[in-house]
């Protein structure tokens, strides 16, 4: 009994130290991205092709935009793929990132109950937000400092309306996009989501969701994605050359075409717009 | 005269600031049997632990074979063993309990054989008991196994703390016999704390009376505890269950105990001299003190038991037998207080 016990411990110790040694050698690129990007499945589709082309393995962690930027600042990752242009520009200005490159965009939409009590259908985003405020219609917000949330806040500002912080009809969920949509659906309210998540939501409910797209196409609803390499001057250990290879590849003709061809449940999700 | 196996000098042992033992001088001869009697809390267990070389005295010296010996030293480990009050075994089967100490000594002795011998000494058949887990034994069986574990070590000194207290009668008998055999066959020194006065009187070379951490007397006196009542002007004592009055001089405090030396027994209850107090009682026990040939009688007066030492001559004279009515006498001015 005692010997068996000791043997198990020794075995465990051996197994413990094995993997730590093997980490160092291969070409590995660490990326921070957002949960909504990851949830579309785009990276699962693109990254293997990148590995085929360059032999570089990419490990990515998906968090909120705020945390992704923080990870970059702390030198915990080598490259970022996020969609919060104002915050990204500040990130570069602060010296944490370099080579910011726009690669693709999709859009945000306002969704709500089919009955549409606030009569948003067909309005511009500015008019829609004003209608929501006037009607005090239930509106679910991410409330979590994510790219989506920052976008939403900028839209309130553009509509010359104060952010409805303490209003009872403004529901700040502090959670991910799907959770927020579900909460909006439970309360028969409105919310703003990226198209990719909406397509998934629609599919989850077998094509007949309680919330439908009511406002779309407004230029202000554009959701721009970029990659930013972590600044090697700020982070000595950042794998700048691998990051550059990724940045150039994803802006290249092949990857841009792949992005265009990426369909979520039969619908195109992103529009490539990298300038080469 | 050989070196005493134990010599205690100026011992003052305390726990948590309280003194539990205070012994100026004590020796124990090798291969002797010493009894320890006293009420609970008198320090018997502490003394046994010190003699067992398991603890170091807070003040004073205990010499073992004339030398100062520390706990965990080789002499302490391999020559002295203590059987604690209440049966206790380690959480393993009988064989492993008995052979634990043997395995510690290494040197390739036949562990199985020694274990078998030890178990048979306490009346436990090897085949039935060897694989039994500790939880499947009765109190008496467990105590016997614990004793066997110690006997298997063939120790020089065996200390027993109330070995027959929480045990059934059959086991108690086996335990007594096994302990004696160790002394007979191996010359083991036995130091036994027990409430079984009769057994101790039968087998011991010397009996130590322990009270509040002090040793006094030879165990031949009777100790009566407080509280005390004032029974009249200048008269103190107790009223016994049969109405008789036990008189004592004024006690120093209510907790003091009186040491009474019964100096005479007679079959008639009349007073001889003015200072004598006479009490009537029944003989409850008679024992023979092996070494001296003296008789010990325990006489029940009310609910108190008085110890009297008699020569066998006196025994014949009064034809003492248990159940006989007899009168005891003691002198008021000879009473000591502790």
């Amino acid at each position: 009994m005692k010997r068996l016990f000791l043997a198990v411990i020794c075995l465990a110790l051996i197994v413990y130290f094995l993997p730590v040694s093997s980490l160092a050698e291969e070409k590995v690129l660490l990326m921070a991205t957002t949960t909504s990007t990851d949830n579309t499945g785009l990276l699962d589709y693109l990254i293997p092709k990148f590995k085929e082309a360059t032999g570089i393995e990419v490990k990515w962690t998906a968090t909120g935009t705020g945390k992704a930027l923080k990870l970059g600042e702390n030198c915990d990752v080598d490259i970022l793929m996020v969609h919060a242009p104002a915050a990204e520009k500040k990130f570069v200005a602060d010296g944490f990132g370099v080579d910011r490159r726009e690669i693709m965009y999709n859009d945000f939409v306002i969704i709500g109950p089919a009955a549409d009590p606030a009569a948003l259908k067909g309005k511009s985003i500015k008019d829609a937000l004003q209608a929501i405020k006037a009607q005090q219609a239930i509106f679910a917000s991410r409330g979590d400092n994510s790219g989506t949330h920052k976008k939403e806040l900028s839209l309130w500002k553009a509509a010359e309306l104060p952010v409805p912080e303490k209003e009872t009809w403004y529901v700040q969920t502090g959670q991910g996009m799907l959770a927020t949509i579900n909460i909006a659906a439970e309360r028969s309210g409105y919310t703003m989501t990226d198209r990719g998540t909406y397509i998934k939501y629609e599919d989850n409910l077998k094509g007949n969701p309680p919330l439908k797209i009511l406002v779309e196409g407004d230029a202000a609803l554009l959701n721009q994605y970029s990659v930013i390499a972590v600044n090697p001057k700020h982070c000595a250990k950042a794998k700048y050359d691998l990051a550059t290879q990724f940045s150039e590849w994803i802006a290249g003709a092949e990857a841009q075409q792949l992005i265009k061809d990426f369909k979520l449940l039969g619908k195109q999700l992103f529009t490539p717009n990298a300038k080469m | 005269m050989d070196t005493p196996i134990y010599e205690i000098r100026s011992l003052n042992h305390s726990y948590a600031g309280k003194i539990v033992l205070s012994i100026e001088h004590l020796t124990v001869q090798p291969a002797s049997i010493v009894g320890l009697v006293g009420p609970n809390g008198s320090g018997k267990s502490s003394l046994l632990r010190l003699l067992g070389l398991i603890e170091r005295p807070t003040q004073g010296k205990i010499l073992f074979n004339g030398r100062l010996v520390e706990p965990f030293s080789d002499e302490a480990r391999f020559q002295v063993t203590l059987l604690p009050q209440e049966p206790f075994l380690m959480k393993r089967n009988v064989l492993n309990n008995v052979s634990y100490g043997l395995k510690l000594r290494g040197n390739g002795m036949d562990v199985g054989q020694r274990a078998k011998e030890a178990l048979s000494l306490v009346g436990l058949p090897f085949k039935d008991f060897v694989r039994r887990p500790w939880s499947a034994l009765s109190g008496g069986e467990a105590q016997r196994v614990a004793l066997a574990a110690r006997l298997a070590l063939k120790p020089k000194v065996l200390l027993l703390d109330e070995p027959t207290a929480s045990v059934d009668a059959a086991s108690a008998q086996l335990i007594k016999e096994a302990s004696l055999r160790a002394r007979q066959e191996l010359g083991t020194t036995l130091i036994i704390a027990s409430h079984d006065w009769q057994w101790l009187y039968e087998i011991c070379d010397a009996i130590l009376h322990l009270f509040k951490g002090r040793i006094f007397g030879t165990g031949r006196e009777t100790i009566i505890f407080g509280p005390w009542q004032k029974l009249g002007t200048e008269k103190w004592g107790k009223i016994l269950s049969d109405g008789q009055r036990l008189l004592v001089p004024a006690p120093p405090n209510q907790e003091a105990a009186a040491v009474i030396d019964v100096w005479f027994v007679s079959e008639d209850g009349s007073t001889i001299a003015g200072e004598d107090i006479v009490l009537g009682g029944t003989v409850s026990r008679l024992s023979l003190e092996r070494k001296t040939g003296q008789l010990f009688a325990a006489i029940l007066v009310g609910d108190l038991s008085f110890t009297v030492e008699l020569t066998s001559q006196q025994g014949k004279e009064h034809t003492l037998f248990p159940g006989k009515t007899i009168f005891i006498r003691y002198r008021l001015d000879q009473i000591k207080w502790i």
């Binding site: 962690t61 702390n74 915990d76 | 002295v80």
Partner: protein, 229 residues
């Protein structure tokens, strides 16, 4: 509600079809919890034993601290460990962030107070007659220590099981320190968090049941060990 039933059937499907992502998560969970339990037992049992066995000044306050640390929230530990392991932190050079060993460090911190506290209790509950018995049999200090440890094994095992439960089911540390990276540091618990976040409740339930099955298997083997004692 029907995602509960859906999840139940999905659990079987995932396991029997050899779903690669699920098995990768299982492997990650089993690996990282083994590391954590292994190290916390190796460090914690001797420390807990000493805490229970010896008397020293500050014993009571130390015990209170250990008991309080049993209630450390996992996200808090995750945050602390992240602060140390991040590249800009003191241990950044070891590149442990986003790795399984990194998570294991955090989980060890989680498990240690439990192991220490319960081992100390087990030792304190030892009968004082044990010491007398073992010393009478002729043990030296080292043998006394080891034999006492062995006698306390049941209580210590209870501590190990409690620690194991806590470690296997935590999310906060795995998420913050591991980063939930697919194929590498995605454990069952972080996968559940992800799936529920994506709205895939059925999948979340399925993975939860898989975790339960693993915990059950481990406890069955432990009880088998116990019975033989």
């Amino acid at each position: 509600m029907n995602f509960l039933l859906e999840g139940f059937f999905q659990a079987f499907d995932l396991l029997l079809s050899g779903n690669a992502e699920t098995y990768s998560a299982i492997w990650a969970t089993v690996t990282v919890s083994s590391y954590s339990i292994g190290s916390s037992l190796l460090i914690g049992i001797p420390l807990g034993f000493c805490l229970g066995y010896f008397d020293f000044r500050g014993k009571k306050p130390l015990r209170t601290i250990v008991d309080t640390m049993m209630a450390l929230p996992t996200v808090f530990i995750g945050l602390l460990v992240y602060a140390f392991l991040t590249h800009r932190g003191p241990l950044g050079n070891f590149a442990l962030l986003f790795t399984l060993p990194g998570i294991a460090i955090g989980q060890t911190i989680l498990a240690l107070p439990i192991v220490i506290g319960l081992s100390a209790t087990a030792v304190e509950s030892l009968d004082p007659k044990l010491r007398i018995t073992i010393m009478s049999m002729g043990a030296n200090r080292r043998q006394l220590f080891i034999s006492s440890l062995w006698e306390a094994r049941h209580g210590i095992l209870a501590g190990a099981i409690a620690a194991y439960g806590r470690v296997m089911t935590e999310v906060g540390i795995s998420m913050m320190v591991g980063g939930n990276i697919k194929w590498h540091t995605r454990t069952i618990t972080t996968a559940i968090a992800l799936e529920t976040n994506k709205g895939q409740f059925g999948m979340g339930v399925a993975l939860g049941l898989v975790l339960l099955a693993i915990a059950f298997a481990v406890n069955v083997s432990v009880s088998f060990l116990r019975r033989r004692d």
